[in-house]
């Protein structure tokens, strides 16, 4: 199972996980962290702490989501993960991606999962039909 940390502004990560768990049930190994009221140094330290958790460190691969590229969440996650092997960070997390992760994390390797999640995330961003007129 590939552990996952969702790094976001405000309460977004925790809410996304809450909604995933409403659909799929409790998710061990899926956690969130917010940059709210955290300096970059503290956020970096807390991401590192999660990465060093034995259950995460021995998983053979880890996934991080951030909500927005070019943000303090993204830069801090990149810097925190700089020396971590088999670690992937995906930006632009949405509910579809997170449900995609949660339902595939047992059956796929990180290498297989990443392109799949990018596709799922992009497919979820689309203009919806409305009746003419």
């Amino acid at each position: 199972m590939i552990p996952c940390l969702v790094v976001t502004h405000g309460n977004l990560g925790a809410e996304l996980i809450r909604l995933v768990e409403l659909v799929l049930g409790p998710m061990e190994g899926l956690a969130s962290i917010s940059n709210e009221n955290r300096s970059m140094a503290k956020l970096k330290a807390d991401i590192r702490k999660w990465l060093e958790d034995p259950n995460v460190a021995t998983a053979g691969g880890v996934l991080l989501f951030v909500d927005n590229h070019a943000s303090s969440c993204a830069t801090t996650a990149q810097i925190a993960c700089a020396a971590i092997e088999n670690c992937v960070i995906l930006s632009g997390v949405n509910l579809a991606m997170l449900i995609g992760y949660a339902s595939r994390r047992e059956s796929m390797t990180l290498e297989q999962l990443v392109p799949e999640l990018l596709q799922i995330g992009r497919q979820a961003i689309t203009q919806l039909d409305l009746p003419d007129g």
Binding site: R38, M40, A41, K42, A70, S71, S72, Q78, I79
Partner: protein, 168 residues
């Protein structure tokens, strides 16, 4: 280079700077003054990639920043405008006292950490930072605490510094 905004922000290049301030001030360049980031090309690339297209970026040590601002034509384009970022008051004061004489310093974000006390909801200071705030005021600079343009501005004055100092 004309400094449009000299900002203390421990998150450096992020949305409040690249969207909030940059969309109003339209700087040609963002100058990030930080010794650790300037010494690590990879971290420098990470921060540079967070700057929107159309804005140039320089990541320099505090000494390099002073040198570049003193002879701007060698490092920066002629008539450029810029946002100057430092991660803490000490780095900004280094630049200030080495000849930049900043009239106004924006305090944009100093988050909670161990040994810090709240001055404002987005400004937490330790003893050293408080002393540097004092030095800024003594030098005649104005300290303006404001996260975003159009947002509430609070001038950090001596009374505010004294109030926090009592808590230490």
């Amino acid at each position: 280079m004309e400094i449009l905004l000299a900002r203390i922000d421990d998150r450096f290049i992020h949305g409040q700077v690249t969207v909030g301030w940059s969309q109003i001030l339209r700087p040609d360049r963002i100058v990030l003054a930080n010794n650790e980031i300037a010494a690590d090309p990879w971290q420098g690339r990470v921060y540079s990639s967070a700057v929107p297209p159309g804005i140039r970026v320089s990541i320099l040590s505090t000494s390099q920043t002073v040198a570049a601002l003193k002879s701007p034509n060698e490092t920066f384009g002629e008539d450029e405008t810029g946002i100057l970022l430092a991660g803490n008051p000490m780095d900004m004061y280094f630049i200030h006292r080495h000849g930049m004489n900043l009239a106004r310093v924006n305090v944009g974000g100093m988050h909670y950490g161990e040994g810090k006390r709240e001055m404002l909801p987005f400004v937490y200071v330790n003893k050293e930072e408080l002393a540097v705030f004092n030095s800024f005021l003594t030098s005649g600079a104005t300290l303006s605490a404001q996260q975003l343009p159009g947002g509430k501005e609070t001038i950090i004055d001596q009374a505010m510094i004294d109030r926090v100092e009592v808590g230490f």
